[in-house]
Symmetry: C2
Subunit: 410 residues, 2 copies
Amino acid sequence: MSSIEEKFSKLGTDHAPGQEVRQGGDLPESVLRGGLLSGAAVDFSHGDVNDTAFPPAPGALEAFIDGEGRGGAQAYTEYRGGAELREEVARKLAEFTGQPIAASEELIITPGTQGALFLALGATVNVGDRVAIVRPDYFANRKLVDFLGGEVVPVPIEYLTSSGGAGLDLDQLEDAFKSGVRVFLFSNPNNPTGVLYSPQEIVGIAKLANRYGVTVIVDQLYSRLVYSGHTYNHLCASEIAADRVLTIMGPSKTESLSGYRLGVAFGASHLVDRAEKLQAIVSLRAPGYSQAVLRTWFAEPEGWLAERTTRHQAIRDDLIAVLRAVPGLSVRTPGAGSYLFARLPAMGIELHDFVRALRVQANVVVTPGTEFSPDATDSIRLNFSQNHQAAVQAVQRITQLIDRCRAVVS
Amino acid sequence: MSSIEEKFSKLGTDHAPGQEVRQGGDLPESVLRGGLLSGAAVDFSHGDVNDTAFPPAPGALEAFIDGEGRGGAQAYTEYRGGAELREEVARKLAEFTGQPIAASEELIITPGTQGALFLALGATVNVGDRVAIVRPDYFANRKLVDFLGGEVVPVPIEYLTSSGGAGLDLDQLEDAFKSGVRVFLFSNPNNPTGVLYSPQEIVGIAKLANRYGVTVIVDQLYSRLVYSGHTYNHLCASEIAADRVLTIMGPSKTESLSGYRLGVAFGASHLVDRAEKLQAIVSLRAPGYSQAVLRTWFAEPEGWLAERTTRHQAIRDDLIAVLRAVPGLSVRTPGAGSYLFARLPAMGIELHDFVRALRVQANVVVTPGTEFSPDATDSIRLNFSQNHQAAVQAVQRITQLIDRCRAVVS
């Protein structure tokens, strides 16, 4: 096997969210336990942006049409995004995070938050660099490091047993940094578990980054969707050195604007410079007309975000209640975002077979835990940004199939 | 300097098309010759998509709005693009190129043609791989190879003196392939010169690729805009082995749809598979709602393409006539596309100073030849997809400034 083939063998997408359609429907008889569980199809691999669930934030399409009408000036922006728009977005993000952002130097607009993540890693990770990655965390993180030729240094979080925060062991993180780590990447709230890092954890990360000269990339995609009883702590507003941190966000999730492919990275200006150079050869710029849609971000109608948060929280609570009734299942109640990560009881079939059985027998798509950590062979992730009733019924079908597929205790 | 800093020092974008705004307006007095040359601003660094020049092909915005209306199914496609859409696009591209394309395996939809180019190179070039690049050619080509850690093997074309084709020396190409080249990348028509490769050149490339096991990536962005007296030869329809070629196209130029960020790569299925894996971590997918706009591609109203081609050809002819009147200036008449690449007479100032003087004194933006070849320190590229009258007047101002800045022959 040649080297490029090895490289791509690590980048499998067969079980990635949204790719299930490419797997086909065949399932060995040995895996099937009982007949079909009927009910409306629910695809928990991503949020439902249809009108019956969580449609795009108001004004998005109108802003796009206005952008198209501006013609060339909107189609051909600087690679880092239109200058006026960056002024506006920088102002809003500074207000949101509590940290000033210089629009001309410290912000880049990208094709989706995924684009921002790629540029951030591409701007910081070179062949052979050691990169600390949380386990579990967003499935693309380790693949990005693999593609760039870096070396993953896993840092576990004890999200199920921790009470106050994400369950990050700062001593373990320091050991990783001591071992020569150049970059630390994590999502807050954590994807897939929905746990928020505590103020102590955020301050601890900042201090260690400063002490060991580590660049920190923090994926804050879900930082606007925070449930009652929780507060959000922005790493960029902590004591971390300004040239050590890059923050990533976008309107694809809470705001349901994924179809426009918009994201941002902001922070250390030398990294934003590199990100722009890389964007120039990766995709030139975020889609020109779509950029205009960012004008509606953080400018939603009064009460819109609160209402969206309340509705998600209600779904969260109902799903958690159904899941907690399953003997042997463990799940942490998410503090933010729309993911939950359930650890299944001991099962009589393999995780990937169970996930396929769910799809084929119960009309439910979930993402296997192994996308987020090689150790998570007993967990599934659900994006519960769905129609409320359909989601509850789908999770009830999941619990039925769990019961059918349990390991037989002799 | 650390390794990642070196890597990015090669990826400069200061002189890249569209980035001129970041350069500022200061120019040393010593560079200025005479006063301002007034006239309507023309930005030859990219095409003008406004209504007074070449607006987007009909139906694009309507198709986008329809796509948005389809909701989640359009926002969250497979990473390689929606299945139905790929069927439609594959059928059209097969008809256009004369080569069958399997929609499920041999086509990926990307964020712009730039996205396709990045994925194609990312799928084929590993650290240390030798990659043959034409000189001059699209400015991102060598930067992509640099970013991926490959080694550029330049292959010159004698575009000014060649009569029948692009001026590729097939013996030189064979020498490059013999030296261990793994990948050959070229644009046809060539960007920046607008020359088309002859049937003999295309067949020669195909034979050499087969003989030496080289993968060829051909950027056919401008292959629909072909002027009278010229015919287009698709490499994918030549005798090249199907698993050796990947073709790149998109509707950003001829169709003026750059603001939607759409492109395609089609060909070798194992490379399309890799491209999709890479897309999953780079940008997830081409913008979902924008994908719907590809339905209008190759489905423009009767006569639309012919009219657009005729109008471009008329501008081309007028600009070439103005430029040919300049003593000492050389330019090849483009056979396709909307670029022309003019070699200036001996000048009394440096190329980059002349380009800045054009912007500051004559209200004209052009791209310096050094973006396309380190040797092209005497050439400028113009994208003449502009308002006809404004373009002619702007090129007249260019000729005036050339005369002012000529080297003084003693």
